[in-house]
Amino acid sequence: MGLLRGNLSHTLGLHREPVSEFDPTLPIRAKHGDEQAFIRIVEFYYPRCLRFARNMLGSDQDAEEAVQDTFVRVHDSFSRFREDARFDPWLFRILANRCRTTMARNRRHRSLIEYGDIPQTATAEHEIGADWAEEVNVVLDSLPADQREAFLLRHVEDLSYEDISAMTGVRLSALRMRVKRACDTLRARLGERSEDDRQHGGHNG
């Protein structure tokens, strides 16, 4: 059944506690006006969407706003959701579009940030591994947005190239190239640090 195909493997993210599985009938029920089903969808996907938005935008506040908006849009557009379609790619398409809008807005406003303003960044709290996470974030931020998006969708959100291609309208070969370039940059700029850590026993990723 198309509805069930592959949904579960994607919805359980890498570090999510598998306390509950996503019920694939929820989007259909929500589409037909079941408010409790909509709540369950938001509850299930909120953390994952927030992770993607934060990795994409580098700001907790922007990420939270983008995710809140995304779910409002999901609700408004349920009439366009095909019942035989899978939910993850549909949701992430809306989220990725919303993140792009925020990035465009931030580019427009960047010139307004005066010296001395400290933009809020998505650095992890200071704990073991925080330095590494900070470095990863810095390099990730420096990637072109399309590479960052493709890398996060493929490697962190665990979506297939086919899904990403269907979501973004970008050809498979171009997507693979974006992910490869992103990986090359990450390796080139973080590989040395990773090697240092290993030699000094500070393996804290």
């Binding site: 306390v19 509950s20 809140q68 409002v72 590494w132 490697h155 390796r187 990773s194």
Partner: protein, 201 residues
């Protein structure tokens, strides 16, 4: 076939990429009552739906309309506002079993059910759900979820204005009263439940 081979090649994560993915994978903690906020924004929009034309433009331009802004927009024109209250406005430091609820409601809505965000901290539980008179004490109605291995359990439920009694059902067998809510003695069955007062819109 060739596609699959390329996929496999791309998916080969060397140690650096694996560590990068490891750093980017933990789930951030959503702000409190995040789900209830979404629901209230959605309800405010339903109370005053964006016109088809405006919605089409909104989609075409992909303008940034935040949920908060959308809610406030509707609030301004309809005199609907948000009321947030509760015992917790940010994630508390949880010791043993701690919980808090936050309710949000549109000031002008009729006596429909109001979304109430619930949080509960209990280590070593495998499953937790909220049972109460608002969901007919149905263990399947409001299962709670947690972010990460030690995050608080949370869910958003719908309850009508009035006084409700509820408890948390841990691992499908044990009832636990909400340690941060007012207690309700159960006149029929003994044992403690908790009280949730949902205010009139």
């Amino acid at each position: 076939m060739i596609g699959n081979m390329v996929d496999t090649m791309d998916d080969e994560r060397d140690e650096v990429i694996a560590r990068v993915v490891g750093a980017l994978s933990p789930f951030p903690q959503p702000r409190s009552a995040a789900v209830a906020r979404v629901l209230m924004a959605v309800r405010a929009r339903r109370a005053q739906p964006v016109s088809r034309l405006r919605r089409a433009i909104w989609w075409a331009e992909d303008t940034a309309v935040s949920a908060k802004a959308a809610g406030l927009l509707a609030a301004a024109s309809l005199a609907i506002g948000f009321v947030a209250r509760g015992t917790m406005t940010q994630q508390a430091t949880f010791g043993g079993a701690e919980s808090a609820s936050i309710e949000m409601q549109p000031v002008a809505s009729v006596s429909s059910a109001v979304p109430v965000a619930m949080a509960f901290e209990l280590a070593n539980a495998k499953t937790v759900s909220v049972v109460g008179d608002f969901n007919g004490w149905d263990p399947a109605a409001n299962p709670m979820q947690r972010v990460g291995a030690n995050g608080p359990w949370s869910t958003t439920l719908l309850a009508k204005p009035g006084r409700h009694t509820y408890a948390f059902l841990v691992d499908g067998t044990t009832l636990v009263a909400d340690p941060r809510a007012s207690k309700a003695k159960n006149p029929d069955f003994g044992g403690d439940a908790s009280v949730l007062m949902v205010r009139t819109p």
